[in-house]
């Protein structure tokens, strides 16, 4: 070898083609597709997990003697999964060939729609879950008698003056109704909290990417 590496370096880069910068254009496309694919994967896994859980809970509910809870749980969660599966199908319709900004915007619109629908569902979902638990335990067999009836009998021994409506203490109905109202009121917020817990990082990345692209467009 006769040339020094310093000379090779200097002479090599004197030629015009050595330092041609590539265009900065494709990175956002790749990143947006990656983020959305990740979200879709997580969303699908989440739906599968709900189905698996509702099946497992249905079986367990029969074993522990609260089948009413299990059946209501199963039906409610099945409806939830069907609705979200339909929403997910809508996500597949988003055109991957669109520009990154358009793609992310469409995805963001889909997310907003999905959140709005699920927030509405959550106002019913959490109260239904609570009611199913109450009913399940109320009708659970306790030595030949429903647990709820047994509980009322115990209460009547201690508090004989307690006011009953269709055999249920009024105070109990009021407390249950209060919990149902609270759950219905906070259902949307509970859903948002749950959503952020699972998808928070993906949403954060999506927001960052959209801010980047908006800045690039400005």
């Amino acid at each position: 070898m006769e040339k020094s590496i310093e000379d090779i370096w200097k002479e090599g880069f004197l030629k015009g083609d050595a330092l041609v910068a590539p265009k900065v254009n494709n990175l956002y496309n790749q990143k947006s597709i990656h983020i959305i694919d990740k979200f879709k994967r997580m969303f699908k896994i989440n739906l599968i997990a709900i189905v698996a859980f509702s099946f497992a809970f249905l079986i367990v509910s029969f074993i522990v003697g609260i089948p009413i809870t299990g059946i209501i749980f199963f039906v409610t969660l099945s409806v939830l999964v069907i609705i979200n599966k339909k929403l997910l199908n809508g996500l597949d319709k988003i055109d991957k060939g669109a520009s990154s900004y358009q793609y992310l915007k469409s995805f963001n619109e889909w997310i907003q729609k999905q959140v709005t629908i699920n927030k509405k569902i959550s106002r019913f979902l959490y109260p239904i879950i609570f009611i199913s638990m109450v009913l399940g335990f109320w009708f659970k067999d306790a030595e030949g008698m429903p647990l709820g009836e047994r509980l009322v009998n115990e209460i009547l021994i201690g508090f004989p003056d307690v006011y009953l409506v269709y055999g249920i203490p009024l105070i109990g109905i009021i407390i249950a109704l209060f919990i149902v109202v609270i759950l219905a009121y906070f259902g949307g917020r509970i859903y948002k909290w749950d959503l952020n817990l699972v998808y928070g990082r993906v949403f954060k990345k999506l927001k960052e990417l959209m801010t980047d692209i908006e800045s690039l467009r400005s």
Binding site: I5, G12, K15, A18, D212, S215
Partner: protein, 163 residues
């Protein structure tokens, strides 16, 4: 990233970024990915620049960090920290400079460990030992010895290949 920022703060240093990214990639596709990621990271980190060093040093540091990070992520690229154990993936035919000697030099550089690659490139870019140490985050006293060792190694690889 605004096009103004790209034109004024990145493009003048594109040469530095290109040279570094070339040393850590084996294909045009990877090179373009690395280059774009470096540009994006420079733009994202611009608010952290405190003018304690030159902008070019800052660009070098970010470029190097991004290349090393991507290299670790990229399973296609074989990683080696130890100079003595060398396995490098074949470079694609269409990923070459028109200068054959430069291609051979780059091939030789790619056979070095990740850190040695950075050291020799900074040396070839005529950075001082202090600057090299500052960029890499090491002791300036060791840089001279390391450069000598790398040069001997490169000469050994290139021996007989370049006239």
């Amino acid at each position: 990233m605004s096009s103004d920022f790209y034109k004024t703060s990145i493009l003048p240093f594109a040469g530095i970024i290109i040279k570094l990214c070339r040393a850590y990639t084996n294909s045009q596709e990877d090179f373009e990915d690395y280059y774009q990621e470096v540009c994006l990271q420079i733009w994202r980190s611009k608010d952290n620049f405190r003018e304690e060093s030159q902008w070019s040093t800052w660009v070098y540091r970010i470029s190097l960090n991004v290349c090393l990070t991507l290299l670790k992520k990229n399973k296609k690229t074989v990683q080696h920290f130890v100079s003595d154990s060398i396995t490098v993936e074949e470079t694609e035919d269409n990923y070459a400079f028109s200068d054959e000697s430069l291609n051979l030099l780059y091939d030789a550089i790619r056979k070095l460990s990740e850190i040695d690659r950075a050291v020799i490139m900074l040396y070839l870019e005529e950075k001082s030992q202090k600057e090299i140490a500052e960029i890499i985050g090491t002791n300036p006293n060791n840089i001279g010895v390391r450069v000598k060792r790398i040069k001997i190694r490169l000469k050994k690889i290139l021996d007989g290949k370049i006239n």
